[in-house]
Symmetry: C2
């Protein structure tokens, strides 16, 4: 690939353009918002001049509702050898294109599984896709050359290609992304009307479960509107579990021991199935969930304390894999949790203790 046209210079389009431009591809940028194109160009994502002749790959990075129309326009104009989109749903755009009677051999639907809380070209980075899955949905009709252009794009963005059927993709994101969003919102919605005293009792569990309930409702209405069927199917499965669990909990009040036993069994069953599902969730960036051990250290809340502790860890030859800091309410102190390989934990604990740090159990 030597030339590319990026249509839509938002977060995803500009990030892909930055990755391509950074690896020597000549990138042309287009957007209905001229200011957005200028910003992307100023960031080094490419040029706002139109291409002279056909480019190798046209990348359509516009909202799902506009994807098919923009793709169709570009394909009719014959601006590129291959065309792909990056919309978060794949079945709908493909069916829309088919309904328009277009030749779809030069087209491949794709979806990079990367995003950010912020949108727009200013949030873009060349490394947005590094190590993330990038779904490709070729059909039997897809031109091999076009599939290879898409694979080259994924490789240049340092993402991990995953080949799927378009409808299987939509069912998968309904399961792993759209359903968790709605469920998180529903749990958080229960807190909207709760007593202030009740809300004070929130712990880390509900904090994690409701974190994504802070997402932008408009953006999510758009995403969910493009994939309603598969999301409804997954939610219906959750609803069945929920109904059974409410019945089970009510059964625990029964005077009939058989019913109480059945209630306990049903609750244990859903918790066990939850265990089984949870272990399948891959770790960050697709890596296996790492089993680190934690060494907790109490530090003063002032500049230099963290530097000193990491310097001491470095002197002990220990690599810190992850870090958490917890500040106690109203105290000028914090608990630093250093996560290290299990074999390194005793080494680190001893080394820090010898240097006068206050290690917690």
């Amino acid at each position: 690939m030597r030339t590319a046209l990026v249509i839509g210079t938002g977060l995803v389009g500009t990030s892909a353009a930055l990755a391509l431009a950074g690896r020597g591809i000549h990138v042309h940028l287009v957007d209905h918002d001229a200011a957005s194109v200028r910003t992307a160009a100023a960031l080094g994502a490419g040029t706002d001049e139109p291409p002279r002749g056909r480019v190798d790959l046209a990348i359509v990075a516009v909202p799902p509702a506009h994807t098919a129309a923009v793709l169709a326009g570009a394909m009719r104009d014959g601006v590129a050898r291959g065309y792909l989109d990056v919309a978060s749903v794949k079945g709908g755009p493909r069916r829309e294109l088919e309904a328009l009677g277009l030749d779809l051999t030069p087209y491949i639907g794709t979806h990079p599984m990367a995003g950010k809380e912020r949108s727009g070209p200013l949030a873009a980075t060349a490394d947005l896709f590094e190590g993330r899955p990038w779904v490709l949905t070729p059909t039997r009709d897809t031109d091999t050359e076009v599939l290879n252009l898409a694979l080259e794009l994924v490789a240049l963005c340092r993402a991990v290609p995953v080949v799927m059927d378009a409808d299987a993709h939509d069912r998968a994101v309904a399961l792993v992304s759209h359903t968790p969003q709605l469920i998180s919102s529903m749990v958080a919605a229960r807190l909207a009307e709760a007593d202030e005293t009740a809300v004070r009792l929130c712990g880390q569990g509900i904090r994690d479960v409701t974190r994504i309930a802070a997402s932008d409702p408009r953006m999510w209405v758009e995403i969910l509107s493009a994939n309603p069927g598969p999301v409804a199917d997954v939610l219906a499965g959750v609803a069945a579990d929920l109904e059974e669990t409410v019945t089970a909990l009510r059964g625990l009040h029964s005077s009939d021991e058989e019913k109480r036993r059945a209630g306990t069994d049903a609750i244990e069953d859903v918790l066990r199935r939850g265990n089984a599902g949870r272990v399948r969730v891959p770790g960050k960036h697709g890596a296996a969930p790492a089993a680190y051990e934690t060494v907790a250290v109490l530090i003063g809340d002032k500049p230099g304390e963290l530097a000193a502790i990491f310097a001491d860890a470095g002197r002990a030859g220990v690599n810190i894999e992850d870090v958490r800091i917890e500040h106690a309410t109203g105290q000028q102190a914090g608990l630093v949790q250093l996560m290290v390989e299990p074999s390194a934990a005793p080494v680190l604990g001893t080394a820090l203790q010898e240097r006068g740090w206050s290690i917690r159990g």
Copy 2:
């Protein structure tokens, strides 16, 4: 308070005993498991010798199902001036004690909102309760002297006392703890049977929503069995939202524009109510959620890199409030996200850039 009796030397009992013993209280330890008492005593939590005469406060820290029976035994023996339990539900134990016809003036039900993934005396720490809410459920009949003994215990453990009615407490934990657990398990349960390819697409959202689905089913069956009514009530509310959302999603397929509009509105409504609930969740240790800004730095994955970066941050006079490290798959590099006060972010970014660090957007 000068003397205390801790009945039950698990995580919570031993942690409270460590806090009391560390502040000069003479603590006696009892448990049906003699090895557990010896471990707690060896950790410095108190003595395994029985008290000579009446202690000031008896702390019952046994599983919810046994709480009322153990309390009743201790109260009949008259071992203390005041009695409290730390069970995670409060209405049930109180009603059981009432049914036994005991004088409840020397009793107060309490619940420290702190825990750990690990249980048993070896997981105990004197600072387990620091900065955490500790719920007290006095009634009009509770002796003031006993309430003050309980408040003294909470202060010695450096927790934050919160006074609630026993049933209001049970409704609150159903909302902020028991419901999130079940819902997290139900979302994770959907993954148990999913295709491997679908599971590969999991991102940070579902990772957070399903984190607590890894919890111990047996422990949770016990907790939920002690509080079935309030949990069923909250779940029924979620079920109503869920049913409405499934109908809304199905409506988006309708040819009737009115129905499609109603579907979109219903989905936006649940997402907005989720926003409203989420902002009420307090930050760690009850502090207001802090609005930090992130400075992201690419580092090599080797000892000394973190030390160097924190040393440079310290030289710039910037206090790091929180840290996250993301490792890219199969790469000897990581992205360190340094969270600082908004005013400090540009200072830190410039200082690190000047010292040659690779800052990411």
